[in-house]
């Protein structure tokens, strides 16, 4: 009776409890020796050692810890937050300088901007970015929401292509309009400008009341 921890209950509906619950101990092998006296509700335990790979990876992880802590905070052979950031910023600065000196040159003088407004392909190319960032305040048709109506004849800061281009570049932070010159390339901003110009006179539904000066074109 003491060999097994469970005496099967003849009334049990459970088949598996009618079976002997434990295998006999393996004798004569290094592994899988059952430990005498370790019996808990029928559960027994083997006296196996910990797997070697487990022990060694654990030791390696523990050894890594002081190396990393000292490397970051004492001996400085691993970058900390500040060093990481400084390096990344320097990289970025270099990318920008290289681009400025070798990248495609795109004319943004008043004459060039005026030419872009005459090119329907430029305006069409600007629509997606307009919808992504400008439409939130100026409406998806440029009818004006929080920001002014862009389709009427009234302008707060000038209606010339270079005025609009500058507005997109620098924004009006005090009025809540962010600058976009770091988010979009010169060409993308010129396309957005061309798109804004193309909205003129479209008389969209729900147009906001005029703001600024009447500009006759």
């Amino acid at each position: 009776m003491s060999e097994h921890d469970h005496i099967p209950d003849p009334d049990s509906p459970l088949r598996d409890e009618a079976k002997p619950t434990l295998p006999e101990p393996v004798v004569g092998e290094a592994h899988d020796l059952l430990i005498q006296g370790h019996k808990y509700d029928g559960i027994r335990e083997y006296d196996n050692p910990m797997p070697g790979w487990w022990t060694w990876i654990f030791i390696a992880c523990v050894a890594f810890a002081p190396v990393y802590v000292l490397g970051v905070h004492v001996f400085d052979f691993i970058d900390d937050y500040g060093e990481d950031l400084a390096e990344a910023q320097a990289d970025l600065q270099q990318i920008r300088e290289v681009y400025a000196s070798t990248g495609p040159s795109f004319k943004t003088d008043a004459g060039a901007l005026a030419e872009y407004t005459a090119d329907p392909l430029m305006a069409a190319a600007g629509e997606a970015n307009f919808q992504a960032v400008c439409a939130a305040c100026h409406g998806n048709l440029g009818q004006g929401l929080i920001g002014p109506n862009l389709a009427d004849d009234y302008w707060l800061y000038g209606a010339a292509p270079e005025d609009i281009y500058q507005a997109i570049n620098e924004g009006f932070p005090a009025q809540g309009m962010p600058p976009w010159q770091d988010a979009f390339s010169d060409e993308e901003r010129a396309q957005m400008m061309a798109y804004v110009v193309s909205l003129h006179g479209t008389d969209p539904p729900g147009a906001k009341e005029p703001q600024g000066e009447l500009v006759v074109q």
């Binding site: 509906p13 434990l22 509700d41 559960i43 196996n48 797997p51 487990w54 900390d80 990318i95 681009y99």
Partner: protein, 507 residues
Amino acid sequence: MADTPVSPGATAALAATAAPGQAHLDVFRYDDKIVRHFTLATILWGFVGMLVGVIIALQLPFPEANLGEYLSFGRLRPLHTNAVIFAFAGNAIFAAIYYSTQRLCKARMFSDWMSRFHFWGWQGIIVAAAITLPLGITTSKEYAELEWPIDIAITVVWVVFAVNFFGTLWRRREKHMYVALWFYIATIVTVAVLHLGNSMAIPSSFWNSYPIYRGVQDALVQWWYGHNAVAFFLTTPFLGLMYYFLPKAAERPVFSYRLSIVHFWSLVFIYIWAGPHHLNYTAVPEWAATLGMVFSVMLWMPSWGGMINGLFTLRGAWHKLRDSAVLKMFVIGITFYGMSTFEGPMLSVKSVNALSHYTDWNIAHVHSGALGWNGFMTFGMIYWLVPRLWKRELWSQRLANAHFWTGTIGILLYVLAMYTSGITQGLMWRAFDDAGRLLYPDFMETVIQIKPMYWVRLIGGTLYLGGVVMLMVNVWQTIRRAPKDLPDPAVAVPAISGTPAKDLVTS
């Protein structure tokens, strides 16, 4: 040290037949009714918590599913996490602890009154959470959202639970404590410390309070709590559950006692340090994040010690998997435990964390833990327990197998979708073009990109919930056919002199 299950009528006779000179036999009954209570509560709240999960998974790609004030994402998400962690997993670990502790201690629970108080108190707390969170009553601290009156109730219930548990240890008829009990001890004391430490607040009214910590202190305390809620609510009690139910179901000895000792103590000692890895690169001092990271790395093998002791215990029993949905679920649960405890240390490494943090990668990680490890360990336990608790064969093994496969496919869809989404968005956030500008300056571009993955996640989650519905049907059909009268099983074990036995059967 044999114990003898005895039929109800024979108890008095058994006690009387113990001959003079022989060891005196104590005859007593296990309290299985309380385990039935916790088991049913586990299933019910599991369904509710996961249903809320599916609803909020729908709300993400389809915001029209935010139906008004009380059912919008920001209020339902804490309800989902609380329901799954504290209601589903909570009731599951209580069922496991109440069933196995009595048998490992060879004693009835210390106090029936405390057991009932624990059960109904905990369900009351869950109901209070389910009412207050949709009302917007929240502290905002993750997994500790409940306001101070409920926190006090949790403290009271937990203390009663602890007294009941340690009282049972005190009255045990087994000299030594099995490894499952070690993990239960770690759970009970640490959760108490964490809960008290993180909930310290000054009330401004009955439903509002402010933590006594501010800024970086509050952040550090919160993630000491948050990470160790994972450790001591979702890991240690489930390891205890595994150490009891897996060898029982496989009918195999535990692989290595020595590994049990080493991985228990290293896990308990190291886990508590790992919290600040949730705050890598934030305003907490970098040394704290460094400690969080290196201790997370050291935690890898202690966690895998549990996985090894689980999987290697099945050596010589792998053939049983074919017929046993219980063992299949345990194996997939332990496998997910191994995967997510490798992933956790990896995610805590600063350079990986720089990409993964704030993205869906974390969502994938916690769900491989919660659905894979906690979910399947719980389901395996329930399928093993229900026939024993209700004295009736499981209604359908085929349905249990269908649950296994549906749930497994569900998890895989879920985590693959969230890995894809998390890595995609993480890479898009950091991408620069060759002019040195952000490639995706508009946040919305990164949202549009991952939206399809939200639909895939919804399908995965729905499949997993479908598995839970199969569990409900199977358990319901089993219980319906069970005998009406379910007396607590009586057992006879040799008495240990000096043990204050108060659970003896007298009639």
